[in-house]
Symmetry: C2
Subunit: 617 residues, 2 copies
């Protein structure tokens, strides 16, 4: 089949077995060129991908943003070589680019990322691509009533991740017939054989119990694969194709051998020959059907507003503002982890039931669904307790690699929640979200600020987090005050200031009380509301340092990674820093009232005033 | 049944239905006293718990540390009132202590924590108690060949968490016959009905497919409950008892009503009457069988040692040191997330297969198993890629609430890993583990340091994390050097020092090279190896600040929460800080060689030297 041209020539009737061999050969070639990579994991999936590409996928490789394109998610991201071999077969990349796999500057990264325009989401942390695929399928089926299909390739090892079963449950219950999962059962993990080896019935029983159509096939029989993919397309349920395959298929040196994971073949040139040599088959992939994009039209936003002096819980304002956003923007979607009456996301659900996704208590699936939604052009806001967002941290980490735009709300922050105790307290959320690449972290202290910040999030790139408070706090800002991201508010300031107190959220109100008490004792304290924890308002903090020489930070959070360290970051550029002191939660809390909690943690007005007096000297 | 005494009187033959009513009444009473709490979620489980307590549990409430005690894990931690009601029925707490539920200083916290001595592990983040129970059951069955049984109560909502299915797979495959899960199918979640309502067969099908014995019962029929618990005890498989129950059972105002979650009853006094009034039944719980404790005898540790000037990967040293620890300490257990050839945990597995737990690719279950193991007195070391530890972050967070002692190794830290790309790079691990309450964070730069630190972890309280490096680094310390936790090493120091460079791990070697280049340009730089990121060596850093006035930090990590902010923490006590500048990874990396990665991120010797010269002025 080898031709004289280097680039694939267009072919109308593809020999599927030959195409499978080409994908295998190209996987061997690019890993050999890189001197690294997962050749054998790509080879097991080659026939599955060949049949999908040539006969079932609808995709315009010249227009990766086309809304009618199917989605192919490589949940077993380490099998990237087979994906890049598909790109070459589709004419999307050159042979030279294929062979640039893993090299400096190449779009063909070690694991797929959207730096290659045909990759919707980064994979490589196992158990994430499939849940994201469920989100894509639900967006298309439920929100768009669209025709594109979602195809996900996963490994058998990957089924040990609990997130896969959140996804099976969600897709099975939602009846996502446009979703097909191809399970590449090659029997061998990274180090040891999988639990179930080639017992495909073990997987079929489990997945079938979750309401899926299940088909067991020989993953190297292209006719069986074709039939299975057709069965999937014709079903009214999501379909899992459990394909028995051979890891390193076609190369005697590695086929079905332990110890051959994650490296080039020991005899690549010989293996290419054994596989019939380099081929240049070009596949004309089926065109997508005409489809319109998600509308993001803006109907004008009517923010809720609150009277200065009244009391509001910022979590409640989050819910009300989400409703306002829903009226203004038809692309806004609310996601709930079955705590919508706590986060107030349920307000949105009551107003826009068709744009409200109930994810039940599965924070990983909720986050993955949001990643899928934004791929389709929707604007997701997801919410649960700040403490329980930690459950999905790896998904947020990977969402940043995916260049995803997510709006995330964590309610019930800090010891302020009171009696429920430490399991329910978000005390590390600021640190976790600050550390996400390219993130934004917001922490409002009153109703009008919470409304503006919730609205400001809507067009922020990257992972944008807002921390809300359980209890009510007094409204201190007028409703027309603006709160740009990256800003802060200087609430008390005088020439005589001898110390600056920086706080946000619940501690901001404690700081204001402390400043009043300090004034009674003749100490003039500047007070800064640091509502934007990241990016941080370096200019205002440096000015306060220059003016007062001393900064006290106060936060309802563990001492690490939060507001105090965000303030320190403003002085990590080599400029002369002020004296700094940090008040934060240092000991494990227990049950108590909110007021007792703030007192015990040493972050109430009394503690702030004492620390500020000491720091001011 | 009400008697005149306030405290329960001992009873030999308990009326199980009456005991169930007592647990319900006490749940209503304590939530009423607190003015908060989850009464209805406790009431649905009362009959299950009554039969377990009176007829199947073996437990000495006077000796909660007795190794022969069964374990009862309340995976639905919000149902704490029923647990505390059991304590009262067993004579472990007084009526007054029951009624102190959720109040300041009480051991009866809003969600169970080990401040109550009968609580093994904190719960309240759903989907964690059951996986920990699997770890307990495996420790007893496989490591101890012991007789205690493990009983776990979970909710139906909780089955949406993927971690539950990791646990089902692990326990089913391991055949943990000593494990029983009681599923309280009360149909109602926090906000909405569950996906499957009272369709207990939906759960039975799913759980049964994972190799479990499954029994479906009426969860308010004490005879059926008794039979089911006996069936569980007699089985050679783990058993799930799927119990159809009524949330708020027995009180007409709330029974099977939506909107009644997480609060006291609207008519507590009337409900107590409806339930037959307060009772004082005292249960004589069956005694545990004689059982010996896990031995932690120390046979003398022979650490691996490396020649100065040779090259070692710290991950490899971690593996070798774990083997040495295994010889010295029979209580050390290795846990692997199916990447043992990468983390080198497999060295331990080869030497001590009976003390090596393969958890496959399920980081949440691996972490939960480790929490269970340490409850039983074992000393677990768990390892995976630093990046994939993020998957289990909520489990580490809760492990701190459980006062668990865990030793955790994260390999493949930073951009240094090279070609595999950002999905595989641990770039937030220092921030995540620093932020855990009471944690320790270590980051060795060479073989002998890695050996000492891996060994030093063994008796550290709390969550102790060590970060290891993929590639080799030169050995710079002699093998008899000591590395106390909380210390650092000053590697270059002179009176003329005009700047201090603080680094650790891979960047330490870059810092040393940079110092050499700076010396050639007449700049004398102090170099500190900050191998203990938390606790941080405040004294040495403050001395460096006093001596040089300028500190440059360099880390292979995102800028937030890592080494740079740990150094800033040394100056957060109000003392005069130095000028600080931070070098860290600022942009999303792609595939490249390790050397290209360090260069692109601006954390190699060249970038350090340039920044240090600028900072030194």
């Amino acid at each position: 089949m080898a031709t004289s041209t280097t680039e694939p020539a267009s072919t109308t009737a593809v020999d599927l077995d030959e195409l499978g061999q080409q994908l295998r050969v190209d996987s061997v070639r690019c890993t050999e060129a890189a001197g690294a990579g997962h050749a054998t994991s790509a080879m097991s999936a080659a026939d599955l991908m060949a049949v999908l590409l040539a006969k079932h996928l609808r995709y315009d490789f010249d227009a990766p943003e086309h809304p009618g394109n199917d989605h192919l998610v490589l949940s077993k991201g380490h099998a990237a070589p087979v994906l890049y071999a598909m790109y070459r077969a589709a004419g999307a990349i050159s042979d030279a680019e294929l062979l640039s796999y893993r090299s400096h500057g190449s779009r063909m990264e070690g694991h797929p990322t959207p730096r290659a325009p045909w990759v919707d989401v980064a994979t490589g942390s196992l158990g994430q691509g499939f849940p994201i695929g469920v989100g894509l399928a639900e967006a298309i089926a439920r929100l768009e009533q669209g025709s594109p299909r979602v195809w996900v390739l996963c490994g058998d090892s990957e089924l040990a991740e609990g997130s896969m079963w959140e996804a099976f449950e969600h897709a099975g219950s939602a009846g996502l017939a446009n979703l097909t999962l191809l399970v590449d059962v090659n029997r061998l993990g990274q180090v040891v054989p999988t639990r179930h080896g080639w017992d495909t019935s073990a997987y079929a029983d489990r997945i079938g119990a979750f309401g899926w159509q299940v088909v067991e096939i020989d993953g190297h029989d292209t006719a069986q694969i074709d039939d299975a993919l057709r069965t999937a397309t014709d079903s009214d349920k999501p379909t899992a194709i459990i394909a028995r395959t051979v890891k390193g298929k076609g190369a005697a040196s590695v086929a079905d051998q332990e110890g051959a994971h994650g490296k080039p073949l020991p005899d690549s040139a010989q293996a290419v020959e054994e596989l019939g040599g380099k081929r240049d088959i070009r596949v004309d992939v089926a065109e997508p059907l005409p489809t319109s994009s998600v509308s993001t039209g803006n109907a004008g936003l009517a923010l809720p507003s609150y009277e200065v002096g009244s009391e509001q819980a910022t979590r409640t304002v989050y819910g009300s503002t989400l409703v306002a956003l829903g009226h203004a923007r038809p692309d806004v979607i609310g996601l709930d982890g079955e705590v919508g009456n706590s986060t107030r996301a349920e307000y949105f659900g009551a107003e826009f039931p068709e744009r409200y996704l109930q994810c039940y208590i599965s924070e990983q699936q909720m986050t993955a669904a949001a990643v899928g939604l934004q791929v389709r052009g929707w604007t997701p806001y997801l919410a649960t307790f700040a403490a329980f967002l930690t459950r999905a941290y790896d998904f947020f980490r990977m969402a940043a690699v995916s260049r995803a735009d997510l709006r995330v709300a964590g309610s019930h922050a800090g010891v302020e929640i009171g009696m429920d105790g430490p399991s329910q307290m978000g005390l590390e959320d600021l640190a976790l979200f600050r550390t996400i690449a390219g993130s934004t972290v917001l922490y409002p202290c009153d109703g009008n600020q919470a409304a503006h910040l919730t609205a400001n999030m809507v067009d922020v790139d990257g992972i944008c987090y807002i921390r809300t408070t359980r209890g009510g706090t007094p409204v201190i800002y007028p409703s027309d005050e603006e709160f740009p991201i990256g800003g802060s508010k200087v609430l008390r300031s005088a020439a005589a200031d001898s110390v600056t107190i920086v706080a946000a959220g619940v501690t901001l109100h404690e700081a204001l009380t402390a400043a009043d008490r300090l004034a009674e004792h003749g100490v003039s304290a500047r007070v800064i509301d640091l509502y934007s924890i990241k990016p941080v308002d370096t200019a205002t903090l440096q000015q306060a340092a220059a003016d007062t020489g001393r900064i006290l930070t106060v936060e309802d959070h563990w001492p690490q990674g939060g507001l105090g360290e965000a303030v320190a970051e403003a002085f990590a550029d080599g400029t002369a820093p002020p004296r700094l002191r940090k008040l934060a939660v240092n000991a494990m809390p227990a049950s108590a009232t909110p007021r007792e909690q703030l007192h015990d943690a040493g972050i109430d007005a009394e503690a702030i005033a004492a620390a500020a007096r000491q720091l001011a000297g």
